[in-house]
Amino acid sequence: MTDMTAGQAAARVKSVQDAYLEMTRRKRAYGAVMLIVFVALMVSGFRVADGRNAGGFWDGIGNIFQFPGEVLSEAGQKIANLPGLMWKFLPSLIETVNIAAASTLLGALGAGMISLLATRGLAKWPGLIGLFRRIMDILRAVPEIVIALVLIFILGGGPVPAMIAIAIHTMGALGKLFSEVNENASLKPVEGLQSVGATWGQRMWLGVIPQVAPNYLSYALLRFEINIRASAILGFVGSGGIGYDLKNAFSWGQGRYDEVAAIFLLLFGTIVLFDQMSSHFRNTLIGED
């Protein structure tokens, strides 16, 4: 009797083992196929792209360091000019950072609103979740440079069109990230507030925002860094700031690479500074928990 049950138990373990090994082999086979497909796509894609290039990738790759080399060597010769040039470009850098800060602030406020309206379980009008999601998609889909060009055409060149363009894009991009944060928020405090008769605005502000604020802040600070770069680029199409100076330094070519180097140094320093600042603020906020 005991022998038989022991035999049955061994047979049961054997069947579990066989079933699991079978599953593992199937998973491994899928994995191998996926790997082959991935490598094949990468190789063929690269060949197609290389064929469509005006020059050849392999012919051009050797020249990749020529331009930076030229900039660096010229800047090296005029290294004494750099501090003065950096001082000269400081006001336009401040303008650029200002555009980024204002657009991040406006965009994040809008994103907070729209994300709450587009999150299942939190939305004021659950039927309109899809509508708000599509609005965010549109805000995100249109490149900020296109919005800036249209606004410059209507309003004229300057920092305001750039600010609006970046704010619109920020609202779309942060809205999506914020609504993912909202989905992970616990509904228990919200239910607690609902049970005392709070309005939707009270439930969101007092029940959800305290839970999600640290994540909101850290995404917003990341977006601020991205927006500094975006606002520098928009200078190229005539909305002021350091990008405008960079374009002039580039396009007039000969003899102004020291200015290019100074602007790059300023931008690099700014990004490092804000990166350090944002991690400091994030840490203090998390430390309070």
Binding site: A9, R12, V13, V16, A19, L21
Partner: protein, 274 residues
């Protein structure tokens, strides 16, 4: 075998573990009791090297474990399994993969990243699961299991390490009485059948009495009691927990027998009242 010498750990101003010394000569089942904040968890985490000691030494068969670094430290951790209160499994991976994690120290990083384990290991993992009575759950995700089942998966992961010592940090504190008994029975079997040393932090006195060969009591980071369960009188227990005369062992108990006892007494009192 295992000897701990004046082990101390301070966090800022607080001393979590204060000059703890004890020796384990031969494989035994040891229960560590004491109120929360007494330093029980920190002590176990230091033995596993999850937390570094501030001063003092841990010697295992003459080797200074506290001085190990890098690969040697990880090899020691593989020899000294840890079981956690909240199980600490990877919730989205299947049960067998979680058990196979016990072999990570012996396998190459690249192979394990693609979940490639030898068939022999997979067979052994399922045999261990069968020994703990949960082989049928092998292909399920760990998060789909109940707390008691997850803790047994964690024990299976520990056994997969083939460790010399099993450390259990409040293994039954998150479990209902029935599952708590199953898990404690499993830990006792690991000691009796495999001859491994089991050191468990326990939050109930009766569990320590029932399952352990030796009980160590801690208060404010110091060892205040070290003896057999029989020597652990109610008076001693009051000292360990820093409690007064109103302290009753039954009131903290979670074992089914004690609950029965309490219910029976309550019923008797109720009947007497009628």
């Amino acid at each position: 075998m295992l000897s701990i010498e004046k082990l101390t750990r301070t966090f800022g101003q607080n001393t979590a573990v204060d000059k703890v010394s004890f020796t384990v000569e031969k494989p035994a089942m040891i229960g560590i009791i004491g109120r929360s904040g007494a330093g029980k968890s920190t002590l176990l985490r230091m033995i596993n090297r999850l937390t570094d000691a501030t001063s003092g030494r841990i010697l295992f068969e003459g080797r200074d474990v506290t001085a190990l670094k890098g690969g040697d430290k990880r090899a020691w951790q593989s020899d000294c399994a840890m079981i956690f209160q909240q199980f600490n499994l990877v919730p989205r991976m299947d049960v067998v993969s979680n058990v196979l994690h016990g072999t990570l120290n012996r396998r190459s990083t690249l192979a394990t990243m693609f979940n490639l384990y030898p068939d022999a290991d997979i067979h052994r993992a399922i045999e261990i699961l069968d020994r703990l009575g949960i082989a049928d759950h092998a292909p399920k995700r760990a998060e789909a299991l109940s707390g008691g089942q997850q803790q047994r998966v964690a024990i299976a992961r520990a056994l997969m390490q083939d460790p010399r010592i099993v450390l259990a940090d409040e293994p039954i504190a998150s479990l209902d009485p029935m599952n708590a008994q199953l898990v404690m029975d499993d830990l006792r079997r690991i000691h009796e059948e495999d001859g491994r040393t089991v050191i468990a932090n326990l939050h109930t006195l009766d569990t320590a009495r029932r399952y352990c060969d030796r009980v160590i009591g801690m208060l404010h980071g110091r060892v205040v009691f070290d003896g057999t369960p029989a020597q652990l009188t109610t008076g001693v227990a009051r000292d360990i927990y820093g409690a007064d005369a109103s302290f009753s062992e039954d009131s903290t108990s979670t074992s089914i027998e004690t609950l029965d006892r309490n219910t029976a007494r309550a019923l008797r009192e109720a009947e007497a009242a009628i």
